[in-house]
């Protein structure tokens, strides 16, 4: 009989304090514990001996836990590197300071408690580090990140460093308000149930006047989309002042709503140079009756939390474009994994977040995308190394975030999108709507028909993964715009290897 066993050990054992104490009380433990006089003699001692490496530490339910992928410099012991990361992301400086002794310093020190080799990569290690709850200000992503990714990523003793995942105690999550609207209330407000929402980003993203821009919005919404979206770099340039854009877009939204009898929306991007300008733009969007506003990730964590508060006060859905994230999320050796950004954003409080498409033009391994979508949408996410989730996480009733799939997707992939991403997502077909040979409304109609036909078929119990193309062809027989869309884009795929993939090994073992 063949069994499949995960050999990446993961943190579960450690989190429950099991299996590390036996047989290890000797060397490591003794080397770690200097007597107080030796420990505080001025000079430089290894981080391990300063109290940042505690392999027998019993992780508390109230600890924040982080797992880093560490690539130590040549000759640096992985445990020392882990201790250094723990030290530099909590209380340490490079040398001994006597003022530690004025504090309850053991409490404030982060503790690296486990180091595992990364399967298939002898240079890298996963280091698990626990931080006491006391270290963090309630309800502040800025404070959290200033610790966890503040100084440590430039630290010389590690060649590269990546924050892979975090676990947050429920008590800490309860200090955050989370998404102002959430998936459930968003759907109730929009009166849209039982299918993914459909969107598109206005193209070209730069250069259209307000009047021309609103035309794209109107055609797409009238044709069948639920939302149209400003792109991340549409703010207030010379070709289109923000007030002009807001006015024309809301004319388009209301006209389309009357033409279809549906609630429609346009994500008005309120990103600006200062908070005062962002509030001014958001207030104007509210006055005009918009159901949703949008910000870019580059506005910063504090601005995002402020906008979340504003949205909560004003019954507004908050869309987040993850502009800039690829600079630090994509490469596996260094940066912050996007699943961590998604966790922070669920805490900071956004209602929508771009989270990958699997099949489109942007980075996205199917397993990793599932881990990110689960992080956005589930009430509890169990540890699952295959999807990149290192920890059990209870989301403490924070609202769910609607993941947005955007970038190089089209109607011909509908069965794949529905299978991979499920119902609670916004599928955004920008080029796949506006690039339709018969116009924007026809493109929108093609997407909506493809979507509804696929949901109908799935609910009827059909195997859409295999029958998907046939289901689309059948709908295309009575829906000319869908037929045209399938003809134009039928062979378009973006089949490149992903860079951000899970690192665990499925090992075949034979048992009796």
């Amino acid at each position: 009989m063949t069994l499949l066993t995960l050999i990446c050990r993961g943190p579960t054992a450690a989190l429950h304090g099991a299996d590390r104490r036996d047989g290890d009380e000797g060397g490591k433990h003794m080397a770690r514990q200097l007597n107080p006089k030796a420990r505080y003699t001025p000079g430089v001692i290894p981080y391990k001996q300063m109290g940042y490496w505690e392999p027998d530490y019993d992780v508390k339910d109230t600890d924040v836990v982080a797992v880093f992928r560490i690539t130590p410099q040549a000759g640096v012991d992985p445990e020392e590197a882990a201790a250094a990361v723990a030290g530099e992301s909590s209380t340490a400086t490079w040398t001994v300071v006597w003022t530690d002794r004025l504090t309850n310093c053991e409490l404030y020190r982060a503790k690296a408690f486990q180091v595992d080799p990364v399967p298939g990569n002898p240079e890298q290690f996963f280091a698990f580090i626990a931080y006491d709850l006391e270290l963090f200000e309630p309800g502040s992503i800025a404070n959290l990140t200033a610790s966890i990714i503040g100084n440590v990523f430039g630290f010389k003793a590690v060649k590269a460093l990546r924050l892979e995942d975090m676990r947050f105690p429920v008590a800490y999550l309860k200090t955050f308000s989370g998404p102002p609207t959430g998936i459930v209330v968003e759907r109730e407000r929009l009166d849209k149930f039982g299918r993914p929402l459909l969107g598109a980003t206005t193209k070209p993203k730069l250069g259209l006047s307000g009047r021309n821009y609103g035309r794209v919005v109107y055609e797409a919404l009238r044709g069948g989309l639920d939302f149209v979206k400003d792109d991340e770099n549409i703010n207030s340039q010379s070709f289109m002042h923000w007030r002009d854009r807001f006015l024309y877009c809301m004319e388009a939204v209301n006209r389309a709503s009357a033409a279809t009898g549906e609630v429609k929306g346009h994500y008005l991007n309120v990103t600006a140079g200062t908070m005062e300008q962002m509030y001014e733009r958001a207030e104007f969007a509210k006055e005009l009756g918009s159901v949703i506003v949008m910000i870019d990730l580059v506005v910063g964590y504090t601005a995002i939390q402020s906008m979340a508060n504003w949205c909560r006060r004003n019954d507004m859905i908050l869309h987040l474009h993850r502009a800039g994230h690829g600079t630090y999320t994509r490469q596996k050796s260094h940066g912050v994994a996007f699943r961590v950004i998604a966790k922070w954003m669920r805490m900071a409080g956004v209602d929508h977040i771009h989270a990958g498409t699997v099949v489109g033009k942007l980075e996205g391994d199917p397993h990793m995308i599932k881990g990110i979508y689960d992080t956005c949408r589930e009430i509890r996410t169990p540890r699952n190394l295959e999807t990149g989730l290192f920890f059990d996480q209870d989301w403490a009733s924070l609202n769910k975030v609607m993941p947005v799939a955007s970038g190089g997707i089209h109607a011909g992939q509908m069965h794949q999108l529905l299978t991979y991403l499920g119902d609670d997502t916004v599928l955004q077909f920008g080029g796949g709507t506006i690039g339709h040979p018969r116009g924007i409304a026809a493109g929108a109609q093609a997407n909506r028909v493809a979507l509804e036909a696929m949901v109908l078929a799935r609910n009827e119990g059909r195997d859409i993964w295999h029958e998907g193309p046939a289901i689309l062809d059948q709908a295309a027989r009575w829906c000319t715009p869908l037929r045209q869309a399938l003809e134009v884009w039928k062979d378009i795929t973006f089949d490149y290897a992903s860079t951000d993939t899970p690192d665990f090994v499925v090992q075949e073992t034979v048992s009796a």
């Binding site: 459930v184 759907r187 109730e188 009166d191 849209k192 149930f193 039982g194 299918r195 069948g224 007030r243 006015l247 809301m250 004319e251 209301n254 006209r255 709503s257 009357a258 033409a259 279809t260 009898g261 549906e262 609630v263 104007f284 006055e287 005009l288 009756g289 589930e378 009430i379 769910k400 109609q445 909506r448 028909v449 509804e452 036909a453 949901v455 109908l456 609910n459 009827e460 119990g461 709908a475 009575w478």
Partner: protein, 138 residues
């Protein structure tokens, strides 16, 4: 015009057999199905009239089909929708909503604009049909 509320309004009107399969999907998920009707299909009219309570204890799609048929007989020219309510943790909200009956003629809506300072506009979407009293609209 053709009101496109609900999850299947872009498809040809569903046959009873198709409706039954969707009801089965809902019941298989242990969602409670309900039938609602209105002659005021404004996009923000949340509360359509309930044709009885959600059928919490009914597990047979045929029973739901009987309710739909009864509602159609009573209100042949109204909008009728089927909804499925999920009472599970983290949801507690409708999970499905689709139209199963609509009037032959749908006059639709107009946009009214109230001009304000700074070129700003206040919009109202108004239904043509609702100008007549309830029950006489379609």
């Amino acid at each position: 015009m053709h009101i496109t509320q609900g999850q299947f309004s872009f498809l040809p009107a569903l046959t009873d057999e198709q409706i039954k399969r969707q009801v089965k999907w809902a019941l298989d998920h242990e969602w409670a199905v309900s039938v609602e009707y209105t002659d005021d299909p404004h996009p923000r009219n949340t509360y359509w009239e309930m044709h009885g309570h959600p059928m919490f204890d009914l597990r047979d799609p045929a029973g739901v089909m009987e309710e739909i048929t009864a509602c159609r007989l009573a209100f042949p020219s109204h909008y009728i929708r089927v909804m499925a309510f999920d009472s599970s943790e983290g949801w507690e909200t409708p999970r499905m909503s689709f139209i199963v009956n609509r009037p032959d003629h749908e006059p639709g809506f107009r946009v009214e604009r109230q001009e304000g300072p700074g070129r700003s506009l206040r919009y109202t979407v108004r239904s043509y049909a609702v100008e007549r009293p309830e029950g006489q609209r379609y």
